[in-house]
């Protein structure tokens, strides 16, 4: 993807979490995602944006649409300069929470997308990527 195809949404307040959801929904509609596919990627984006705000102290989401062999995909990257995640596999497990949610934010988001990575070092911020493809790509995966 070329850099000019990337939309950046800043995440510094709960209103901007809603803005991130809106941007992802519009991109998913334009990429031909079904209603369920749209709902999943928007829900994942909401979880990850809140994670960026609450645990990362704010940051931004980069949104890009990619062309794949069987249709378009939505590629989301959430970046913060927060304290980082000490134990990534613990943070992904259900029930892991700092008291702000149900402890399903990261793990739940991972289950809603097809590709998911976390890059985090204590003190060095966190980058989470999440990628989903429209239906044709999903069928191929199953």
């Amino acid at each position: 993807m070329s850099p000019d195809d990337v939309t950046r949404v800043h995440i510094g307040s709960d209103v901007q979490i809603a803005g991130a959801r809106q941007a992802v929904r519009e991109a998913a509609v334009a990429a031909g995602f079904s209603l369920v596919e749209q709902t999943k990627i928007v829900t994942a984006a909401s979880e990850l944006a809140r994670n960026t705000l609450v645990h990362g102290g704010g940051g931004y989401m980069d949104l890009a649409v990619e062309d794949g062999p069987r249709g378009q995909g939505i590629h989301l990257t959430f970046t913060d300069e927060g304290p980082g995640i000490k134990d990534v596999s613990a943070a992904l497990s259900d029930g892991y929470t700092t008291g702000n949610g149900l402890g399903l934010g990261l793990g739940g988001a991972r289950r809603l997308v097809q590709d998911f990575t976390i890059d985090s070092t204590p003190g060095g911020g966190t980058t989470v990527t999440a990628v989903s493809w429209s239906r044709a790509g999903q069928r191929a995966r199953r």
Partner: protein, 127 residues
């Protein structure tokens, strides 16, 4: 979280001893928290049930799920019940895939079904 985020308040209607809140737009976190406060206070002032109509809600993430569960927990302590009405199928599928269960929440397909769960006859189904 910051105070300036201008939480839009969801209106809460009272029908007999049932409180009804219909969420018609995208909720910010602050609006969801404001609704939780309003419903809990109004339920404490006397209500047998609370219906939250969510046919206009396009996504429920773990934050909104927690708010809904807490409203249900608070109303049940105050001798009422909460029924969630009109959840979109795409929202239900997504909640299940995420592994979220709305524990303690009754659901109904429509506002009318929710009223009958609460023992309220509701408007006669005319039209």
């Amino acid at each position: 979280m910051s105070a300036e985020s201008g939480a839009e308040r969801i209106p809460v209607l009272r029908l007999g001893d049932v409180l009804i809140a219909a969420i018609q737009q995208e909720l910010t976190d602050q609006s969801a928290l404001a609704l939780q406060q309003d419903l809990t206070e109004m339920a404490a002032a006397g209500a047998r049930g609370v219906i939250i109509e969510i046919s206009g809600v396009e996504i429920i993430d773990s934050f909104l799920a927690r708010i809904l569960s807490e409203i249900a927990a608070a109303t049940s302590m105050l001798a009422g019940r909460t029924v969630i009405a009109g959840m979109r199928p795409s929202v239900a599928i997504t909640l299940v895939e995420m592994g979220l269960s709305l524990r303690g929440l009754r659901t109904a397909r429509s506002l009318e079904d929710a009223l009958s769960i609460l023992g309220h006859s509701g408007p006669q189904a005319g039209r």
